[in-house]
Amino acid sequence: MASGTSFEQIQKSYLRVFIALMILTALTVGVTTIHFGDTLNIVVGVLIAVFKAALVIWIFMHLKFDNRRLRYFVYIPAFFFLTFVFALTFLGL
């Protein structure tokens, strides 16, 4: 975390992330009332979840501010996770 910024400034930026997460939660529930087709509904649900996850990891988990090499702890397992999920979904096993 940048040490030059005050508690109030950080609180404000965390609150913005929180509001964004709440809006995205409302959105992901809201889009279930629209039927894009089975596959597309799953894709939209996963995309919103990935976006929410990125916000949490980037800001709340301080990855934006830490050593860049620490990001591989997210990239590598996330790569395996997504590969696994997509392979199992679309190979129809």
Partner: protein
């Protein structure tokens, strides 16, 4: 953590040992939950009708409220860390207490959901969807409980003896774990409740 090596950033990584250790653990945790998601997808593809019918029996409203509760707990956890880092112990206590409160609320709502399922004769052995549902949410709930123990410990220590500013690394490390628990729920929520 009294030794310098434990709390000070290492020259070669730029982060302290506790944080590095937590990230290694979280990477393994991602793979742990990946197994459940993999099993869920395979079982779903084999029994799409069962999964669709069963998922519609879940309570979306209650799950949405629980998602909001858990996201709120992530916010207060992040704030409790900055508060201690900046030396505001009273604020640290307030936000840590709120985090613990949200965690209790989450478990309370989850218990209500489980109780409702049981009263409708729905159990883990009902079908493969509910087997997955109870396994995934059950392991997630265990992770929530696992996070509440150090929260209560830190809060208790702060109330009794005071929690020094130098301990903010511990709060940050616990925060990493707690945000991960929130992340798992962010993926479980659409998977179990929304996509069917």
């Amino acid at each position: 953590m009294t030794t310098a090596a434990a709390t000070h950033s290492r020259f070669n990584t730029g982060i302290y040992h506790g944080k590095l250790g937590m990230w290694v653990f979280l990477a393994s945790e991602i793979m742990f939950f990946t197994g459940f998601f993999g099993a869920f997808i395979v079982l779903r593809n084999l029994n799409i009708e069962v999964f669709t019918a069963s998922a519609h029996q879940l309570d979306k409203v209650v799950a949405t409220i629980n998602t909001a509760v858990l996201i709120s707990s992530s916010l207060t956890m992040a704030l409790s860390h900055v508060a201690l880092e900046r030396g505001h112990e009273a604020k640290f206590r307030l936000f840590m207490a709120l985090t613990l409160l949200f965690a209790f609320a989450f478990l309370g709502i989850k218990s209500y959901e489980y109780a409702t399922k049981f009263s409708h004769d729905i159990y883990p052995w009902t079908n493969t969807f509910f087997a997955s549902y109870f396994t995934m949410t059950g392991f997630h709930a265990l992770h929530v409980i696992g996070g509440m123990i150090p929260m209560a410990w830190m809060l208790g220590k702060s109330l009794l003896k005071g929690y020094p500013r130098t301990m903010h690394h511990r709060v940050e490390t616990l925060g990493l774990y707690w945000h991960f628990v929130d992340l798992v729920w962010i993926f479980l929520f659409p998977t179990l409740y929304l996509i069917f």
